[in-house]
Amino acid sequence: MSRNPYVREIPKFRWFFRHPRYLRYMAREFTCIFIGAYTLLLVAGLSSLSQGPAAYQGFLDWLASPASIVFHVLAFGFSLYHSVTWFNLTPKALPVQRGEEFVPDSVISGAHYAGWGLLSLVVLVLAGAF
């Protein structure tokens, strides 16, 4: 009997429509673009600051524009989604065993949320929000 295996073609791009779990994965990965874009925005702000008061004022004026506000709302939403989905995965990557038992998942991801909250508070204090 001769062997003649049949190899099915795997779609290179359409695979993520096969199941909602792949779309959720793509959403998690895609949202990082907004975090990257926001980082570039901060760098642009620093760059304008180095070019003098007029340039920095121009940057501030742009921040107040409708396009900028739309971008900030989108970037904030996507960053939240990105961070929450990753924080919820941390117990898989960082299991902690105390004695015989593993620390519950909620404690591991909870510690990440607490760290996130604390750092955000420090940034707000440094920015003079209080």
Partner: protein, 247 residues
Amino acid sequence: MSERQVALEVLRYNPETDREPRLQRYSVTCREEWVVLDALNHIKESVDPTLSYRWSCHMAVCGSCGMMINGEPKLACKSFLRDYEGVIRVEPLMHFPIERDLVTVIDDFMAKLARVKPYLIPKQAKPVGEGEYRQTPAELKKFKQFTLCINCMLCYAACPEYGIIPKFIGPAAISLAHRYNQDSRDGGRDQRQEEIAATEGVWECSFTGACSEVCPEHVDPAAALQQVKIKSTVDWYRKHLMPWMEE
């Protein structure tokens, strides 16, 4: 015992006569408590003896009957007909070549499994007379979950990375390597790292997490792979930033 008529669409491929696979529909009278494997066995016994598929234990232990059921990687022995509506489509596991009908070519997985040395490599071999290698319950619990793998390959069928980059060692083999690396009696980590810490090892994994979602034994291969990534990263920092930590 109630019975009902169930239609199954099964992917058929005869390597001797077919140029490509085709779907064949069977309508069978099934009992309420039957699983997909029971329906396939009924077809083979009473309707079409040429239908080929793998199975053995019928109790989700042997890992032989993995197949795509309505597009989802499943064990046919664990998929109850009553959980499906309409025509049930049964295809061979994704990402593997088809040998015949629902039988896939699994040589690639078997070779990868051998490469990661999924067995105890004692730190220091000792004669049987010196007694057993002892382990505390906590040391056992550290890796127990990863011992539950039955090599059914559903995770490979779910993993998009494996589909696109077939060189990827993949979820089950790396999880098993991790299982032995985590074992207090084992000393073979350096040998396994050559395979699993390579690009074709964990670094092809993008943490889609599909492997863990489809795993019938709740091994959570995605967790194993992320843990290997972290440990391999620590290795790298130790080697390059803290060379004095190297033995």
